[in-house]
Symmetry: C2
Subunit: 908 residues, 2 copies
């Protein structure tokens, strides 16, 4: 056990920014700021290791910690010139959590600690503000009672017992606002709050500040394992073993009077990335008032304030009087803040999210950290900072989270679509969302599970709403700014959010909201534009995303670093074109069966299926030939110059026949068969486990004429294009191979057809014949297969199904529970299972390469678009990944991350 | 390329018995016999390597072969004192196939080669038998025309063109039998046969004996790849690359007159193993007349003859006159034969199957080889030979094919059952068979595929009938002896056969057979007793097999050598008892779900399934508890002293609910639910791929209360038995584990229940908790799992399904075709796939042992009873195999074979 307590303040600190794992993000940030000479009120941080030890000790503090804390407290007293528990010149402290990564609002905080009937006298004396002192005291007791002594109701719908007492008093007195409470009222509340605690839990509220302090430290450690913190970690893949640090810091007050304020700011715009200082503040308030979104905050800068006024229809007169910017209201403090933010950004070389308090016009920094940002902002900031020579290209590439690109790539509302904008809120998190209105998180979750798309509409959100926010398409709140809970969380999720739309009158009981006279009911469709703040009635058409120049810049930088080629899964020329625009270099998976369903083709397909012998089957296949050929002409043309992997027919034949009487009747009529024949065939095709049935190359082996027709279509198309000067590179892929003989049999057929067609057309086409590796056995005998096959494409969807023995269609019954119970770290269909499926892939790569040195290796399962899985593909040495068109940029960026991070880790 | 041609004869030979792979069984046998001084007519053998070269050369003879053959022919001429192609003293030869293993009747043979219009004069002169000479000549042309010149009809239902010509002549002349043909008739046939060849294939019949010889050699090589030979090899797992040798041997004639004969004999009884010379012969006949079963043969020994007469109701007078034994008819030749057979058996130390010809009272041996025998005979001969000090125990154990034990272990007809014996044939191959009568092989195959059990009834069988014989339950023929095609093949297959039942009048056209006035139609049930020759009307009750003392002896010797323990798969105390009698030492798989279906239990199970919450489910489970406990009391008691592996609930829950309306109605009524509730539940339980669905430990994890109930039942039973002094060793097995966390979660539940029950019952029971390895992922992470699990039991049924991606329920559509097309060597559900599934098993064993040195390893898939798979288990280092009760002796013997063969191969 190393050093347990790290002091900071007075222009120096024992810790530093690189000690996040030990001191938490907050503790490390405060230490670093102290070192930088930024104004930070003194304090100390108890390490995350102590938290771990605390849990190991069955929630007892390790021996000796008391002495370390005592010593650190002495230092704080010295720097701040006040004494903890002193009735004349008391030191008050905050006790806050701090994990190595930010978990906003997940854990507990206690403020104003150190107040009691004696120290309050000192506070009154120091501030000359008796009302502030008593209000702080009653707030402290309430907070301590709720959090440390456990009186906070478990369900947020239940009313807080302290609030109840206060509401009663206000009612008796006829007050409408807390501000009307007098000093005597507050004194009465202090007494009543203490009595409430005594009644409820048979314990006295602790008067001893030391006892208060240890209680709060224990409560913060305890909050590491509260339900919502655990859920948040699970959603973000954070490790439960990390633990939280506890930072005890001397209080500074933003709520001591009108020359006091508190605020949150970003060194650049977190939504657009614009290089413009952006922040919100509240006069005479405590920090949590900003975050909780209870009061609508004012803008820090004049620029921001003017824009806000314009957007909200506030006159310049009203703005200046009621909502002045900090720049105008406290120019001296603003100047301090400006100096600090520039110093911090320059130091950290990243956009910072800072919290500050102004106590009697003196600025105090509470926190700095890398600011969360939208994908647009991430891209723009990264590119700008390279241009500003703050960071290098590699750092810039790493600054953009590949998964976040989803936000940029997804459609936005069609500007030409008819929109009925009924209100406007803050553009808190970009995106376009359409769904049915629901009014609470549980409904959002339940409706979504039923397949509905929903918009979660709340007065404001809180950490308890996380699950529902995650489920919803978008979030709309009536209260709260751009840094409110809803806004911060939604941006983190990459989810569309419009916050603080004051025009909304939400009625949870009748499950409606009103905008003026318009009533929107639960279940009605609305649409949200997270980039404008528009709230629209009904469903609105969307259009494809348009990508900025900075986006292209980042992607081109990514391409400089990545080793993996990125291909796309595309079955149509249109998809191929889209993917090419997104940077796809080839098609990794073209599924030919999708072509079987279109228009008239299904008739010919069914004719083939109903055929009684090879001749009849060949006759039907002959009808399909020109159609398939047309498909291949289009796709090979669209991907000119790049490899196009065409997978032969894969699904079981019963997917092509109708299973209901009416359609069977029609099919019989169309094909001149009796209904009995059709039914008998459909019956014969039925399988108990179609996933493990007569499909893939098993079809090609029992019906070689299907493979022949497909090969003929491919090579006729390729030859005809080549004759016209188009550079075609067809790669024929045999699916579901489990034994080398299967592959050989199919390869022989394909090669025979290819040679025949090329001889007929008198032209040579470069082509390859390879296989999909999607059956566990194929991995085991990959050396045998590679001796025959020119490429492997890992079909990790099916490989995951068979390696785990999970049917993707059925696993929904237990898979979520498996992830909940931590039997699996992730859904293995989303993130590749490195320990199991990944080991088989690795084995196949090694065995394959041992038999054919230049074996081409790729992946075409959906994992090809998942950043973690892309990293795995890089590590294991694949040549390319293939994913859906919209995920191509994600894969490119993830491939760059993988290359950079894995080279660096190798260097170490 | 080594020596191509090996000569033999005249008391010496270039080859020997250990050159079977090169000279074929026949060639090696003739060489060895020559070396032994046994009378063998001189000849030479062209090696199997030449056959391989012949195919490699696109069916051309390798250069230089002609010279080698020429030289060898010279040697033969010298030994035999006659000259090939000489018109005065001609040498005639036979040209026969010979693979390294016997493939009776599968390949082609040409006899009497060397005859032409000139050499026939020499034959007439030498034999003084003009009719014999011309008959030999017409036979030769017919055989040569059919086989070498390709006139044999492809379908056996078509009439042979030579037969047609002969039938016409006989009809014109009014002959009833071939014997009435005069010398002139035969001369006319020779002319007509030659003309027929000229007409049909525009080629002259080759007069040049050398040309005849090369044509025949090519035809024999060619017959290696005829359809029935390929089928036979596939059925027996023989390698296509082996090729056949060709043996050219000087002809000796059994059909030159009444002092000539030909026969087949076994040095011991091939049916019972009795140490008694046993054989059949025909006077004035060629060898194929015996094998083809056209004439009913006479017995070689007096003892055999007397027995035959008794069985066939032939008087002693008639027997002596018409059917004397060889012993009586040609005592001198019999004496020679007796000396030879004893010499051969002593030399080969195994029961021999010999072929001989007597030409003018001089014995010539044509062939010797290890005789095929029934399982009973194999056991008895092996034990007898040890007692006679001919072989050691190890050899004796290896002499019995484990798979053949099936014959001994299967039920026989209940001696007390009412039997309506309608006729009696020869007890050609033991066993008890009941089925519907069919009259051709195609029907036998088709009806069986439809799920019918059939008896194939034929006048005689031929190699074309193989597939149908394999499909049928039993085979009944009207003609042919104990060494007829039907008899030999059926014994090889371990299939019940009654042959040579002359009482049968079979009419293929009306699809009936008559026995006297009784008419049996296609589709009627009959029963065959292969050990007595009884043919019975209808279905006859069977009883369990009774095992002989020799069987116990062999099994006890096997146990001395085997390293693997053999357990059984048993779900009931009765099965456990049966298996114990067969030598099972423990239960490797007790499936608890089978217990869920019995009687009233299904109601409680359904109540559990329909439960809306944990409490309801627990209530239903409480009802099941005493029932499960009762099962475990019985099974643990029955297997006292041995380990009993109990697998927790495995199948998906929908297997326990009714899927038809009526039963759903009943279920709803019984459980006080609405039909809608029942339907909704059934619907909710439906899975697309139940094999990969919510089953195995996935159930135990989502419904831990089921695991708890099962554990409670197991441990309460174990504790109560132990308290009574019963030695119990429960091993709780968690099914379908794919991740170590699944196992840990279930293990923790089981251990908690075990400890609780043992504390309550105040008794300690030794128990283990382990898992089934049946998911590919489990093999990959076997080290992680073994760190937690005390044993692994390989569930190779499911492991094969998932490793190949084959649903066993659906694979029937393509699996037979896969085996036919040689994409797979075997059905992998029958014989473990060593290259794929086996590699995963090996990986799991190695990884498992690396994490837990004393990890107990077993197999409980159906492979546990397959000899090849048992060998694999031995090689890979498992501790035990577990199989169905009736396969326990097979597994024991296979385990002994594996231990002996793999130790010996290691020694090399």
């Amino acid at each position: 056990m190393g050093k347990r307590v790290y002091s900071f303040g007075g222009g120096a600190a024992e810790g530093s920014a690189d000690m996040k794992n030990l001191l938490g993000g907050k503790g490390a940030g405060l230490a670093e700021m102290s070192n930088l000479g930024v104004p930070v009120s003194a304090g100390f941080t108890i390490t995350t290791e102590v938290c771990t030890e605390y849990y190991k000790n069955k929630k007892a503090f390790p021996a000796g910690l008391d002495k370390d804390v005592e010593a650190a407290l002495k230092k704080v007293e010295k720097v701040m010139g006040s004494v903890f528990g002193d009735s004349d010149n008391p030191l008050l402290v905050s006790v806050r959590s701090g994990a190595r990564v930010s978990m906003p609002g997940m854990m507990d905080t206690v403020l104003n600690l150190g107040l009691n009937d004696s120290t309050i006298k000192g506070i009154i004396k120091k501030t000359g503000n008796e009302r502030f002192a008593w209000d702080s005291y009653r707030r402290f007791i309430q907070m301590y009672g709720d959090i440390v002594m456990g009186l906070k109701p478990e369900h947020k719908d239940e009313i807080d017992p302290f609030e109840e007492v206060m509401d009663k008093l206000k009612h008796t007195k006829g007050y409408k606002s807390d501000l009307e409470l007098t000093v005597d009222d507050l004194k009465e509340l202090v007494t009543k709050f203490k009595a409430l605690i005594k009644t409820k839990i048979k314990k006295n509220f602790p008067d001893d500040p030391k006892e208060q302090l240890w209680g709060a430290i224990g409560a913060v450690f305890g909050s590491w394992n509260n339900e919502r913190a655990i859920l948040y970690r699970k959603m973000n893949g954070f490790d439960d073993s990390w633990g939280t640090a506890v930072t005890v810091q001397s209080m500074v007050f933003g709520n001591m009077g009108d020359q006091c304020a508190t605020g949150v700011a970003f060194t650049r715009d977190p939504s657009t990335g614009e290089k413009s200082f952006y922040g919100e503040y509240l006069i005479n308030a405590q920090g949590e008032d900003v975050v909780a979104g209870i009061r609508t905050p004012q803008q820090v800068t004049v620029k921001g304030s003017l824009k806000w006024a314009k957007e909200n229809g506030v006159s310049e007169k009203e703005r200046k009087e009621k909502f002045p910017s900090l720049e105008e209201y406290m120019p001296k403090a603003y100047k301090q803040l400006q100096d600090v933010y520039m110093k911090l950004e320059k130091h950290y070389k990243d956009m910072q999210d800072i919290e500050f308090t102004i106590q009697n016009e003196q600025l105090w920094m509470l926190q700095t950290r890398s600011g969360k940002r939208t994908a647009t902002a991430a891209v723009n900031i990264a590119v700008d900072m390279v241009n500003e020579k703050l960071i290098d290209k590699k750092t810039a590439v790493l600054r953009v989270d590949p998964a976040s690109l989803d936000q940029l790539l997804h459609p936005t509302f069609d500007p030409k679509a008819k929109k009925e904008v009924i209100a406007k809120g803050l553009p808190a998190s970009p995106g376009a969302a359409t769904g049915k209105v629901v009014f609470n998180a549980e409904d959002a979750d339940e409706w979504t599970q039923k397949g509905e798309k929903v918009i979660l509409v709340r007065i404001e959100t809180s950490p308890e709403d996380l699950k529902g926010m995650n489920a919803a398409q978008g979030i709309l709140t009536a209260r709260g700014g751009m840094t409110s809970h809803a806004a911060v969380v939604a941006r983190g999720m990459g989810k569309c959010c419009v916050s603080g739309c004051g025009a909304l009158e939400i009625d949870y009981v009748s499950r409606t909201f009103k905008v003026g006279s318009l009533v929107v009911k639960e279940g009605d469709f609305i649409s949200l534009d997270g980039s404008t703040g528009d709230i629209m009635l009904g469903k609105v058409q969307t259009v494809d995303a348009k990508l900025s120049g900075n986006f292209s810049t980042i992607m081109s930088w990514a391409d400089e670093f990545k080793k993996l080629t990125v291909r796309t899964n595309a079955d149509t020329p249109h998809d191929a074109e889209v993917a090419k625009k997104f940077g796809a270099q080839g098609i990794g998976l073209c599924r030919t069966e999708h072509m079987f369903f279109e228009g008239d083709r299904i008739k010919a397909v069914r004719e083939m299926i109903l055929a009684n012998n090879v001749e009849e089957r060949k006759k039907a296949l002959k009808k399909l030939l020109p159609m398939q050929k047309k498909d291949f002409l289009g796709i090979l043309k669209a991907m000119e110059g790049y490899g196009v992997t065409i997978r032969l027919l894969d699904p079981p034949l019963h997917e092509f026949v109708p299973h209901d009487e009416a359609n069977q009747q029609e099919m019989a009529k169309e094909l001149n068969k009796t209904i009995e024949e059709v039914k008998a065939k459909v019956e014969a095709l039925h399988e108990f486990n179609p996933m493990l049935g007569h499909r893939g190359c098993r079809l090609g082996i029992t019906y070689p004429e299907i493979t022949e027709m497909q090969a003929q279509a491919i090579f006729e198309a390729a030859c005809e294009l080549k004759a016209k000067g188009v550079d075609v590179k067809p790669e024929v892929m045999v699916p579901l191979v489990g034994t080398v003989k299967e592959f050989e049999a199919q390869r022989d057929l394909i090669v025979a057809v290819a040679e025949k067609v090329m001889a007929q057309k008198k032209i040579k086409v470069d082509y390859q014949v390879g296989t999909m590796i999607e059956i566990p056995r194929a991995c085991v005998v990959a050396d045998e297969i590679a001796a025959q096959a020119e490429f492997f494409s890992f079909g990790t969807n099916d490989l995951t199904q068979m390696t785990f023995g999970y049917s993707r269609d059925d696993a929904g019954v237990f898979l979520p529970e498996y992830v909940d119970k931590k039997i699996l770290p992730n859904d293995p269909f989303r993130v590749i299972d490195r320990g199991g499926v990944g080991q088989l892939v690795k084995m196949a790569v090694e065995k394959g390469k041992s038999a054919r040195k230049n074996l081409k290796l790729g992946i075409c399962g959906e994992h090809g678009g998942d950043p973690s899985s892309v990293e795995f593909c890089h590590i294991v040495g694949l040549d390319y990944v293939s994913c859906s068109p919209f995920r191509v940029p994600i894969a490119r960026l993830a491939a760059a991350h993988a290359a950079i991070l894995n080279t660096e880790s190798k260097k170490k």
